[in-house]
Symmetry: D3
Subunit: 261 residues, 6 copies
C-alpha cells in the first residue's frame, strides 16, 4: 500500500505543511498539488465542495506525491466512509467535543476489529494499491478537531482514545466559544493558553498537534510543538494576491500617474 508520508513525518516529529482547498474544482486542486505541500485538505465542511467533485479533486491530487486529507462536514460515519473509499488518506472530523465523539470518529475510520468502517475501498484500492485491506487501518490518519471550550475540558479523555493520529485546532470556532471574534489568532491569555496546552498534551500522548493557520503564524505554532500546520489556501491565496495586484495599480492611478502621452 502507498505509504502515508505525512504519518511517517509525524512519527519522526517532522513538520508537515498543508494547503486548504475550498474551490470545487479538480483543476485548482491539481495546481495546488503542484506547489509542494506535504498534504492538502479538501474541506467539505466550510469549503464549497460536495462528494462528487471531491472525488475528482482526490484524483487530481493523486497525480502528485502530496497526501490528500478531507475534512468531512460532520462526525457522521456515512460521509467518513465515502471519503475514505474515495481515497482520502486522512479524515479531519469537526467539533469533536467528548470521548464518545472521538470514539465515533475512530470507529468510522477503521475496519474491524479496530472500528466498524464498512469494506468497499472502490477507488481507494486503486490509489492505495495492493495491501489496502490489511494496512489501511495503519496508514490512514484519523484527526478530530478541537475547537470548543467543551473539547478543551474533555481534552484528556479525547486524547486517550486509541486510534487518534493527530488533532486539529480550529481557532475560529474556539474563539467563538470563548466569547472572542472568530479569528485565527488572538492576544488573549485563555486562547494562548489553550493553544499551547493542546500542543503539549498531544505531544505527551504521542498524538500530533495540528492547527488551522497561515504562513505568518506557522513559526509560532511550530515552536509550540505543532507539526501539522495549514499555511495557505486556494481561496485565500487567490483572493489575496488578485486583490493586491489590482490595488497596487489603483493606488498608483490614484496618485496621479500621467496617462498616455
Amino acid at each position: 500500500m502507498r505509504p502515508n508520508t505525512v504519518k511517517q513525518a509525524w512519527h519522526q516529529d517532522k513538520m508537515t505543511y498543508g494547503g486548504w482547498l475550498s474551490i470545487p474544482s479538480s483543476f485548482s486542486a491539481e495546481v495546488m498539488a503542484h506547489q509542494g505541500f506535504d498534504w492538502l485538505c479538501i474541506d467539505m465542511q466550510h469549503g464549497v465542495i460536495d462528494y462528487q467533485v471531491a472525488v475528482t479533486m482526490l484524483q487530481a491530487i493523486g497525480t502528485t506525491e502530496t497526501i490528500p486529507f478531507v475534512r468531512v462536514p460532520w462526525n457522521e460515519p456515512g460521509i467518513i466512509g465515502k471519503m475514505l473509499d474515495a481515497g482520502a488518506y486522512g479524515i479531519i472530523v469537526p467539533l469533536v467535543n467528548s470521548k464518545e465523539e472521538a470514539e465515533a470518529a475512530v470507529r468510522a475510520s477503521r475496519y474491524a476489529p479496530d472500528g466498524s468502517r464498512s469494506y468497499g475501498p472502490t477507488r481507494a484500492a486503486y490509489y492505495g494499491g495492493s495491501g489496502y485491506a490489511s494496512q489501511a487501518n495503519e496508514e490512514i490518519a484519523c484527526i478530530p478537531m478541537i475547537e470548543t471550550t467543551t473539547a478543551l475540558e474533555n481534552l484528556d479523555d479525547i486524547l486517550s482514545v486509541p486510534g487518534i493520529d493527530a488533532v486539529y485546532v480550529g481557532p475560529a470556532d474556539l474563539s467563538l466559544t470563548m466569547g472572542l471574534p472568530p479569528r485565527m489568532d488572538h492576544d488573549d491569555e485563555r486562547f494562548e493558553s489553550a493553544r499551547t496546552t493542546i500542543a503539549s498534551k498531544c505531544r505527551e500522548r504521542g498524538v500530533t498537534p495540528g492547527i488551522h493557520a497561515s504562513a505568518a503564524l506557522a513559526s509560532k505554532h511550530e515552536v509550540a510543538g505543532y507539526r501539522m500546520i495549514t499555511v495557505s489556501s486556494d481561496v485565500g491565496a487567490m483572493a489575496g494576491a488578485a486583490s493586491e495586484h489590482l490595488q497596487s495599480l489603483r493606488d498608483v492611478d490614484a496618485s496621479g500617474r500621467p496617462a498616455y502621452s
Copy 2:
C-alpha cells in the same frame, strides 16, 4: 439595458483593469468578482472551462457590478452566439489575422442589419434587462485578438472593420510567430515596436487597445496607450501566493530554525 460600463470607460479614454479566469468554478469566479476588477474574462480557449460551467460563472459575476467578458475557443459563430446569449458583455476572439476574419467576428456578435447573430438571448435578456434586443449591438464589445505577425501586417485592414470596439494583444502567441519564446514581454525591438504600434494605430482609429499582461507590466502598457489591461488571474494569483506562503517557511526551516522546545 444594463450599461456596459467598460465601454463607457473606453469612450472616455479611461483605464480598465481586468482579471482572467481559467478555473472552471462559479465560486472562484464569484470571489474574483468581489476583488473590484472592471471586467473579468472567462477564458474558454486556454482556460479549463467549457460552456455549461461558464454559464454559472457568468451568473456568479452577475452578482456584482463587474462586467463579464468571454474569450471563445475559436472564431466560430456557434460558440460566440451561445456565450452572448448566456450574458457575456464582450467577446474576445482569438487569432484574428485578416479583415475577413475580423468581419466574421463582428458578424457573429451583432444582430441584423449589423451582423447575423441569431436572436434568442435566453439568459442575456435577464442579465441585460429590458431593451436588450435593440441595444445589444451597441453595448456588447467585439474584441478581436492581434497575436501573430500576419495580423500585424493586416492591422490597418483589421482595424478598418466597423464594429470592432477593442483589440486584445496576445503576447505569447505573438512571440512565437516572431521566433521568440512564448512570454508576456520581451526586450526585443520587433516585439516592442509591435506593442507600441498596435496601441497607436488603435487609438487613431478609435479602437481601444488591450493586452494580456500582469500587474507588473500594467504601467508600461498604460503609458503606451493601452486601456484594457489584464493584471491578474485566478490561477496565477492562487499558485503564486500559495507557493510563496509555503516556500517562505521551507526556506526558514532550511536555515536551521530550532524546533519545539
Copy 3:
C-alpha cells in the same frame, strides 16, 4: 451585512410570497428570481437538488434582490451549516416534532453563544457582505416545519424555543399523519383547526406562521394570519402551463377543426 428583507417584513406583519424550486438548475433559479418573489426556497428535501447545484442556484438568486431560503433534507447540523455557509438566508427544517428537535435546529443555525454553528461562511461572507460574523445570528431565519400530529401536540413547547423566526406548515405530511390523503388542503375539521391554530399560536409568540400553498390558497391563509406563503413553484408552473398549452390545442383538434386548405 445585507439585510434580510423577509425578516424585516415579518417584523412589520407584512406578507411575503415565496416560490419553490425543485429543478436542479441555476438557470431556472435565475428565471424564477426575476419574477419578483419576496423569497425563493431551494428544496433539498423533496426537490431534485443536492449541494453542489444548490450553490449555483444561490448564486443565481444572488443576482437579484430576492432572499434565498433552503429546505434541508433533514434536521442535521452538517447540511444546515453547509447551506448557511453557501449563503442561505433562511433554513427550513423538515419534521420538527419536539422541543429538542427545535432546539437542535436553532443550535445548528446560530453561532455561539446562541448555538453551535461552526464558523466558516466561505461564500456567505461574500453574499452577505461585511458584518456577517457578528450579524448573521440576527439576519438569518431559522424555520422549523410543523407537519405531523406529534408536532401539533408539542406546538407550545416548540414555539417556546428561542431563535425560531417562523414555522412552516407542511400540509401534505400533516394530512398523512391525520389519516388523510397527502394534499395541500382539505375540508376536514381537524385539518382546518390545525391550520388556524398554528397561525394563532405563532402570532401570540411573535413567530411568523408560514405554509406550503398555492396562489389559489394564499388569500385564505393570509386571512388566517400566515405571512410566509409559497404561491408557486418551478415544476408546478412549468408542468401546469405546458400541459395547458398543449391540451388547449388537442381539444380544438379533437373538436374537428378543418386542417390545411
Copy 4:
C-alpha cells in the same frame, strides 16, 4: 429500430405539436416529456444547454414515447454527429441560407452513401434498438431552419436538396433580417407572405413545414399548412405561470384586501 412516430405523422399530413427545452436539466426534461408532446426539442443554440447535460435530457425523454429532437448551435458536422450518436431522432439546423448549406446539413445527418455521417451510434443504438445502422438514414429527421431573407430567396434551391424532411421557420431571426423587431409574429405583409409561402412550397415538395410558435399562434399556422409547431417551452411556461401566480396576489393586495383579522 424504434420508429420515428413524428416522421410517420408527417407522412400522413398529421399535425405534430412540440415543446421547447432551454433549461439544462434532465429532470425538467422528464417532466416536460410527461406532458404529452409529440416531440421535444433540446435547444443547444439559444437554450442554456451543452452536450453533456443534453445527453441526460435525451435519456430522460427516452423514458417516454415522446420523440427527441435537438437544435444544434451551428451547421457543423461535429456537433450534429455527436447529438445523433446520443440518440436524437431529429436535428434542427439553424441559419441554412443556401443549397450548399442544406446539403451540408444532410451530409452530416446521413451515413454513406447518402451522406458522410461517421459511424458510432454509441447511445443511439441502445435507444433506437436493433437495425439502427441500416435504418437510421430513414428514421432520423433532418430539419434545416429557414430564418433569413436570404434563405427565402434560395428557398426553392434549398427544398430541392434530397434528404430534407422538414424545414423549421425561425420567426425572430426572419423578422430581424426584414428590419422588424425580433418577434414570433407580425402584422406585416412581407412577413405574412413569407410565412404562407414557405408552408406552400414545402408542401409542394413533400417537405413538412414547421415553425417556432406558441399555443396562441398554432391554429393560424395549422391552417397555413404547418404540421410541426412548437406550442410551449419549459422556460416560457414556467416564467409565465409563476409570474401570473404571484401577480394575481400582488394585485389583490394592492386593491386593499383586509389582512389578518
Copy 5:
C-alpha cells in the same frame, strides 16, 4: 402505479439477478440496464456516486424495464427519502445491526401510518405513475443489510420487524467482523453457517434473502435459498474483461510471436 416486478418475483419464490453500479454515469447505467438484469443497484455507499448523478442513473434505468434499487450510504432518513423521491423502487440499508435500526429503516421508507417518510415524490410520481401516494408503501422494497456478527445475533429480532421485504448479506463486512479477510466467500464453517442460516431464517419469516455475490457464486446461493443475488457489476465487468483482453495479447507477445514480416 408501475408494479415492482422484483417484489412480484419474490412473492412467487422466483430468482432475481441483479447488477451493481459504482460508476457515476447515466450512460454506463443505461448500458447496464440493457443487459437484462431484473434489478440494478446504484451503490451510494461504496460506489463513487452521489445524489445528483444517481438521479440521472435512475432516469437512465427508467428507459428500460429493469427495476432500480439504491444502496444508501447510511441508515439515515434524509438520504433514504431523497432516493425514494427520486424514483428508487428499493432501498438497501447498510449495517442494520438491531431491531431498532431495522425499524428506523422501515420508518424512513414508508408513509404514515406505516412509517414517517415525508411526502413529496417529485420524480417518483412521474416514474411510478398514478397511484404512487397510496401504493408506494406496498411496491417499494425495504432491504436492510445483514453484515456483522452483531446482526447475526439479532437476526430474529431484525426479521420480526414488519415492513422488511428482503435482507441483503454483505459478505465482506461479515468476514471482517468474523476476523476473516474481506472477501465474497470463504471455506470457513462460521461463515458458511451464517450464509445458510440467514437464508433459512428469512424464508421462514417470508423475507427474501439476498446476497452480494458474483456469477460464479450464484448457483450455490440459489441452492441455499437466496432469491436476490448480485451477479455482476459495472466496474468488475469492465476491469475484468479489459484486463483479460490486454493480458491475452501481452502473453502472446511474451511467448515470442514473430512481428511484422
Copy 6:
C-alpha cells in the same frame, strides 16, 4: 517534459496496445488506466464525452503511466487546442480525407513555426512538466484517421504531410464508404487490401499505422505491421462481461436447475 512513451515505442517499431473510453467518468477512466494499456483514448467523437468531463478523465489517467490520447469530434482547431492544453499527448483526428485536411490537423497541433497552435498549456504544463513549451511539438502525437475511400485515394498525399506521427484506421466508416456494413472487419478483398496497403505505405513513410480493433483482431493487425492497436474499450468490456455473467446463469436456470431444497 514528461516523455511520450508511446512515441518512443513507435520509433523502435514496438507494439502499443490501447484502450478506448466512451463513458463520461473520471472514475471509469482511472480504473481503465490501471489495467496496463500503453495508451488510452478518450473518444470525444462517438463517445458520450464532452470537454469538461474529459479534463477529469485526463487527470485520472495522469495518476498512472498510461499515455492519454483524445479523439476530437472534428478536425477543428478550437477543440484540438483545448484538448492539448488539457494535457492530451496525442490527438486522433477523424475523417482526414486530403492533404489539406491533414495539414490543418498538423497546424492545429503544433506551435509556430511548425503550425499555429495557440500558446496556453494551462493544465498541460503541469502534466507535461518543465520544457513543455519547447518540446511539445516533438512529444505530442498528431494522428489523422484514414476511414474513407477518398482518404485511401489520397493516402500518399496525406502521408507526405510533415508532422504526422501515425494514422488511425476507422474500419466501420471505411466499410460504409465501400458499401459494406459498418463493422470492424470483413472478408472482403477491397477491405483487406486497404487494411494491408495502409500499413505498408505508412511504414515506408515512417508513419506508425494504427487501427481500431479488438483483442481478437490484434494479432492479425500486428502481422500486417500495425503498431497502434485498440484492443478493448470501457463500454465493450463492461457490456460484454456483464451480459456473459447474467446469461450464463439464465442458461443454467433454463436448463432446469433444481431450486432451493
